[in-house]
């Protein structure tokens, strides 16, 4: 398998030495080219899992293999798009996109490549601008272009559209779907929006919380574009809602119990 996540556990210990199991025995296999969403309530460990694939966080036990190599540290084969655009404010849009390329090619090639990917997200006109001159949605598109430009085998996206308004988000969904079809990248997409996951992905991994585990692994075989199959989408949404209801109740009950104690 292209990405193999094997028996991943993650335990954080807080300052009073209480162990907090965030992820418990996560096993996933993701084939090359798949668009998979990881869906779950807040705090279930989605970001933690994604940054483990990126190599930014280490597992307490278990291992992750990407394209036959054990993940030890971050690498350009795994591009990550964060919830915030994470552009470097002191660099122009082009310089930001060139940042991951500068060691692999000469300036001219890098600039050319940056131009190509800015075109892909329809921002060629803003090449010379600075991030603070761009709207949130534009910044996020630059950040996607920056990640795509280094041609990673896997695209890791952590709620990349979470901070955007509805219209912008929906437009970016369309652009991302097109980019995915054009580039055939493997995409691991973290979200807590059920409709977003159904709209975009081949497969939805539903996670439960405390501790984070996989509670369902759903193939989405609704033809694209999905907007045209509203009934099937609604039915799947209903089904996932039912799965998550229990999890959300669990969180609420825990909160209530905690408040009652303190």
């Amino acid at each position: 398998m292209f990405i193999e996540i094997q028996h991943i556990n993650k335990i954080y210990t807080d300052k009073d030495n209480n162990a907090n199991t965030v992820l418990k025995d996560i096993n996933l296999e993701i084939p090359k080219g798949q668009f998979v969403s990881i869906l779950g309530p807040s705090g279930c460990g989605k970001s933690t899992l994604l940054s483990m694939i990126a190599g930014l966080t280490s597992a307490s036990s278990g291992g992750i293999v990407v394209d036959g190599k054990n993940v030890q540290k971050p690498g350009k084969d795994r591009g990550m798009v964060f919830q915030e655009a994470a552009l470097f404010p002191w660099m122009s849009v082009t310089e930001n996109v060139v940042f991951p390329l500068r060691k692999d090619m000469n300036n001219k090639q890098a600039a050319e490549r940056a131009r190509h990917f800015l075109q892909m997200v329809q921002l060629s006109n803003y090449a010379g601008h600075y991030p603070h001159e761009l709207s949130g949605g534009m910044q996020q598109r630059v950040s996607i272009a920056r990640t795509l430009a280094m041609d990673p085998a896997v695209l890791l996206m952590d709620e990349p559209f979470g901070a955007l308004d509805e219209q912008t988000r929906s437009r970016l969904h369309g652009q991302l779907e097109k980019i995915w079809i054009d580039t055939q990248k493997t995409i691991v997409f973290v979200t807590h929006s059920i409709s977003e996951s159904i709209k975009l992905s081949d497969r939805i991994v539903v996670m439960g919380t405390r501790p984070g585990t996989v509670i369902a692994d759903i193939e989405v075989d609704i033809p694209r574009p999905r907007d045209e199959h509203k009934q099937q989408v609604a039915a799947l949404e209903e089904r996932i809602m039912g799965l998550l209801k229990g999890e959300i109740d669990k969180v609420i009950n825990e909160e209530l119990a905690y408040e009652a104690r303190s």
């Binding site: 690498g75 795994r78 990550m80 002191w90």
Partner: protein, 251 residues
């Protein structure tokens, strides 16, 4: 009304009040000379070039001292930010040194470097170094972890990460550090010059006071104040504002 206009009106009012007060002898000329005598003293000082030499001498010391203090401050700040041990030891010493006015080093500096330039420049360097150190240290430690994570997923690490991401990300703090270093260095310079041999603005101030030339005393005070305000507002605040804007720290 624009702030500049308000400011102009305020200072005009102040000088008019000062002039009228002198005119009607609300205070005696020996206690507070009139604006006209101050003006005459300044014109005479510039005409015979003494004030020009003073300005040149003062700025020479300041620029040497400030440049050295920015270099040492940056190097020390990087060291404190990168090494926990250095921060725990040298860091606490820097905090202590920062809390005392650097002029108290003058007697010692005079023993080491004699009564001339060396002692004053030493005091100026001490004046600027520690604020710069503390700002550089804070700047590096406060770099948004998201930038570092993003850079690492893009294949950056080690020295490349430090020079290409961490240092540029802390530029707003470096600029603030430089502005404060200038302010402290300027104060240290004036204090040092008051207590040592000329030429220099501080020296002329004391010299004029020894000879009872109150008009020149006030004239030099005004020059010192104007230089301080102009450098701070026209140079440093402007750079700081541009940097904050570019770095997205200000709307």
């Amino acid at each position: 009304m624009k702030p500049a206009v308000k400011r102009l009106l305020f200072f005009t009012g102040l000088i008019v009040f000062w002039g009228l007060g002198s005119q009607f002898e609300l205070w005696h000329e020996t206690i507070l000379p009139s604006p006209f005598s101050v003006w005459d003293a300044l014109v005479a000082g510039f005409a015979d070039m003494t004030l020009v030499y003073d300005l040149v001498a003062s700025f020479r010391r300041l620029l040497i001292g400030l440049a050295v203090s920015l270099l040492i401050g940056t190097a020390l700040g990087i060291l404190l930010a990168r090494s926990k041990t250095a921060d725990d030891t040298i860091g606490s010493m820097v905090l202590a040194l920062q809390s005392v006015p650097s002029i108290i080093w003058l007697p010692l500096a005079m023993m080491w470097f004699g009564l001339g330039e060396g002692a004053i420049i030493f005091v100026v360097i001490l004046g600027g170094t520690f604020v710069m150190t503390l700002n550089v240290r804070t700047g590096i430690k406060n770099v948004n972890p998201l930038y570092i994570k993003a850079a690492r997923t893009m294949g950056s690490g080690g020295i490349d990460l430090f020079w290409k991401v961490i240092i540029p990300a802390s530029v707003p703090y470096l600029v603030t550090g430089a502005r404060l270093a200038w302010a402290f260095a300027w104060r240290a310079l004036m204090a040092g010059e008051l207590l040592s041999a000329g030429p220099g603005l501080g020296y002329t101030l004391r010299y004029a006071s020894d000879f009872g030339n109150m008009a020149l005393v006030i004239g030099v005070m005004i020059i010192i104040g104007v230089v301080g305000a102009v450098v701070d507002q026209l140079i440093f605040q402007r750079i700081e504002k541009n940097v904050l804007k570019r770095w997205g720290l200000e709307s």
